[in-house]
């Protein structure tokens, strides 16, 4: 019932859709680089959704943009599996659209304001064309129908649609490219709460009907709890915890994850009574990250060892992994109080 700490390891034969090894993405000059993603490794099984959570500046958007080929990488390896194949090197960024698509946070910015929406959706169907030939219209209208946008809306411009409808259009466009892997960067954050559930449900349906794999970046635990199978937690360019979503959200091991989850205001009578642990301060400057464990400057459990030795995320076979020297003791302390 409950996702226990010693959950059985998943069958290793599970086909992988995405593998990222030791990925490094830097911004800025070579002399004063900002390592926005600093040695992140992760794997996503085919048909699964990996949620990524973390504060602004943790590198979660940079990570998915790099996977999508929209940012150059400084180090590491990205491998993507085609629909029915094994993991292989990701294509050069220009050609990666057939492997990975992205759904962005703000659909108003992600769609061309001057194109009728069917043309935006049809663009991946006819790559290389400056203007999509009209013969792709029927296919685009069908895709729009699959995301709940009726044919009568196909000739509208994005400004004539609501935010929820616009996001559905960008989803149709992402699906049109037939890429097996989709990066979702806060896809419902700009939508009203009543519309969020509908878009999430659509994403979940498409995942099954079109056999898609998602990496889903969000700061909203409600969406993550609803759509993700696995969840990774990022802090200052590092992945600090990863595991099955129920296990991580219920029994977070890293003190950062604990604070992050505790900070989320939830609508429950229990949560109102609970006193929460406030995380002091803000995320440090990524140009000058703290030595050792990057979280130690805000961690109430930090000890001398944390400043000198950087904890690594386990490479073992266990499903729920954490990069913290002291997590078993911390978890005992937290459950004891």
């Amino acid at each position: 019932m409950t996702a226990g700490v010693s959950e059985p390891v998943e069958a290793p034969s599970r086909a992988m859709a995405l593998s990222v090894e030791d990925l490094v993405v830097t911004y800025g000059s070579r002399r004063d680089p900002l390592r926005a993603v600093d040695g992140v490794s992760l794997r996503v099984a085919r048909g699964e959704t990996l949620g990524i959570i973390g504060e602004s500046g943790s590198g979660k958007s940079t990570l998915v943009m790099a996977i999508a080929g929209l940012l150059p990488t400084t180090g590491g390896r990205i491998r993507i599996a085609p629909r029915d194949g094994e993991l292989g090197a990701a294509a050069a960024s220009v050609g990666r659209g057939g492997q990975v698509q992205v759904i962005f946070q703000d659909p108003a910015l992600a769609l061309s304001p001057s194109l009728p929406i069917w043309r935006s959706v049809a663009e991946p169907l006819a790559p290389g064309n400056i203007r999509v030939p009209a013969r792709f219209r029927a296919q685009a209208v069908e895709l729009l129908g699959q995301v709940g946008i009726g044919p009568e809306l196909a000739d509208r411009r994005p400004a004539q649609l609501s935010g929820g409808q616009r996001q559905r259009v960008t989803i149709a466009r992402a699906v049109a490219a037939r890429a097996p892997l989709i990066m979702c960067d806060e896809p419902v954050a700009a939508l009203d709460i009543s519309l969020q559930a509908g878009v999430l449900r659509l994403l979940d349906e498409l995942r099954h009907t079109r056999e898609l794999t998602y990496v889903f970046v969000s700061h909203d635990m409600t969406s993550i709890a609803r759509i993700a199978d696995q969840v990774g937690v990022m802090y200052l360019g590092k992945l600090v915890e990863v595991g099955p979503v129920r296990s991580v959200l219920r029994e977070p091991r890293h003190p950062y994850t604990q604070a992050l989850i505790s900070a989320v205001p939830t609508v429950s009578l229990r949560a109102r009574a609970r006193s929460r642990t406030l995380l002091p301060g803000e995320i440090p400057d990524a140009r000058r990250p703290p030595s050792g464990c990057r979280f130690r400057t805000r961690c109430r459990f930090a000890q001398d060892r944390c400043a000198v030795e950087e904890p690594t995320i386990g490479t073992g076979s266990e499903a729920h992994q954490v990069a913290c020297h002291f997590w078993p003791e911390i978890q005992d302390a937290v459950t004891a109080t």
């Binding site: 979940d204 129920r246 219920r250 989320v264 205001p265 803000e282």
Partner: protein
Amino acid sequence: MGAHLLEADRLGLTIGGTRLLSDVSFTLDEGEVVGLVGESGSGKTLTGLTVMGLLPPNAEATGTVSFQGTELLTADAEDLRRLRGNELSMIFQEPRASLHPARPVGKQIVDVVRAHENTSKAAARDRACDLLSQVGLPNPRRTLGAYTHELSGGMCQRVMIAMALVCEPRLLIADEPTTALDVTIQAQIIALLHRLAEERGLAVLLISHNLGVVSDLCSRVITMYCGQVVAVDRTDTLLREPQHPYPWALLQASSVDLDATGEWTGIAGAPANPARPPAGCRFHPRCPYRTDACTSGEPELVAARNGGLTRCLRHEELTLTGVPA
């Protein structure tokens, strides 16, 4: 009258001929922290701006809004100016957009102090410094000289709150004060508002679309839909047993249940347009509990079974379930 700090009664608002608020009635008592929730376009922010008297010139308001016995809708500009800042303050969603980008934040606070009080620059600067430390900014002396681009979103919001507190107002209207912030910083700001309300007896009207934030901080919740107040509940009543299908649906949409088997629903359809509201109950096109009666009779805001108010024709027969205890 005069029993409530703030009382809005059948407030209606038209801007440039477009009807945006139709029937907004609520009260707020001294020292009370009350949430105002609803989707985009429901009229939450306009309600806040009306109380502040910050409407465009082509706005026409009807009904009454009284604050400590002063009728705000008919008050002259001079009276309003005296109330704003001294008694009423407002903070906004985008703190950075509300601050001057090319003037140190300390100077901006000093401006506010000196606009309301006859004090020397040095004394005003000390006040500013004191306020910045009260809102939990580390190193307030240095922050006085900082520009907004040197501060994070959370720090800018603390500066805004400090500025709003200059004249020790009785009522703070906080319009989505944490929406643009990270959850960890949001928790810090919520804790700050909570502390200020408790220590200073400050009444807060917290405008938010996030029921989590509201239920965390507020003792009562006012729910708006399509330019009307549709429900007023004590927070624990709302969480246990909502008395109107709209707040019920919002609650369902915002609760996380890790054990749920994937059956989660939003609210069907899109929010109604207050300029062209549906006939009958304005929520009926999206309401799973509607009957024929809901499509014609326009419900009034009436006392609900478990206290509070509801604008639902079927409130006596419906029993809606809240969130799990």
